[in-house]
Symmetry: C2
Subunit: 238 residues, 2 copies
Amino acid sequence: MSDDGWLQGLAAGAAELDRSSTAERVADVLRRRVTEGDLPPGTRLSEDQLATVLRVSRNTLREAFRLLGHEGLLVHRLHRGVFVTELTDEDLVDIYRVRRAIECDVVRRLGEVAGTGTDPLRELRADVEAGEAALERGDWSAVGTANMHFHQHLVALAGSRRLDETTARLLAELRLAFQGAAPAQVHGPYVTRNRALLDLITAGRTEAAAVELEEYLDVSLDHMTSLRHDEHRWDEAR
Amino acid sequence: MSDDGWLQGLAAGAAELDRSSTAERVADVLRRRVTEGDLPPGTRLSEDQLATVLRVSRNTLREAFRLLGHEGLLVHRLHRGVFVTELTDEDLVDIYRVRRAIECDVVRRLGEVAGTGTDPLRELRADVEAGEAALERGDWSAVGTANMHFHQHLVALAGSRRLDETTARLLAELRLAFQGAAPAQVHGPYVTRNRALLDLITAGRTEAAAVELEEYLDVSLDHMTSLRHDEHRWDEAR
DNA sequence: TCTTGTCGGATTGTTGAACAACTCTCTACG
DNA sequence: CGTAGAGAGTTGTTCAACAATCCGACAAGA
């Protein structure tokens, strides 16, 4: 048992070694560029150009495009090329519609899942604390990632692969909407709400937590929408 | 205003004109083969072989593979090839976990969506009636598709693009689990439950409908799981 | 001035062949 | 019995080329 304990440890990372197809590595690079705002929404990605710069063939690059297209970060228009996704206000509403359905459901049914021995709320607590710490020292970027992780880990409590994947995609798409807005505006207000939510969950008051989360998401949506309409700095960059 | 009213009508169908890339047409063919059971789960799809038969290049075929991979029908193992997805019992549980979250949430919040003028329940009613008619004449295949359409249209009531897409994917994956089971067993029992659900919704008793749907899905999952364990006919076909 | 038709450059869609990298199986060896 | 290695077959990736399509510009006509 204890002999091959480390074997299982490696097994978890084994998939990561093989994970290296050229297309996926290219996708990784582009994903970062997009989510970090280097490639603003609406930008067209030229195949020839990118294939030359990244030193891969057009075919491989196209495979990477498909990957990111499925993640919602890129849209593919036939004979026209691929573009960084531009989220409409409708998209924003839609994304929050799905988040509400998933996250609230997860919280409501938390009681149904028996504890797996290890503390399931550990990561969630770490995210909240990381957010509070980052807030105190004014590291807005860290506040943002902590907030993202919080919601990802919240959904992870359900132990559903598909819910996890869907959530990851939604949060990635959501990042597109953040472009051009100050992180302080975007994530600042939610540190305290995350804490409140965690406390309710810890206390086992799942129904109250679900209601809180529901209002949380509604407020967040309104907030994001108004932010988008206030700041039009990017319009001139087109 | 009334001048270009018909313009908006055309705009909706504009995207449909372009929808024909070779890769997508290839994907359509394969999708049908898979969902209709011609290619049982676990089958390996050889690139050379299929490219020759379908008269397309390997590169194009690979793009089609990726499309279907994203739909969950095919799995891609690096350096090993693509295979028709084999659903595990865990997958089945997971799929129903997501369905429950989405479908129940949709039903619960039906009241929040103002009627769009046209009768939103029309298609739902049509599906139920189609199912009842098919049941009476013993057309099990038609019962199955009617059942699928019912759930798809149910989610469509929320008017959310992403919920629609997710549901479509889940139902497509579910079809993989049906392989080898008699349609009568799979879909038969749900015609009457669909009717009951529709009646509750029509009466505006959304909470009762949600509860009914919840039990509906639990029963359905148990049912599917036991069917899989009863019938091992496909094991010998490997 | 505004619309419509046409042309050419640029980009994407698709192909086929080629080679590298990898997996799987079978065999031989300890 | 188990293991290392060779060989065959398949996938991963590249390249060059051509076809199909989009886009902007410019000219003709109302």
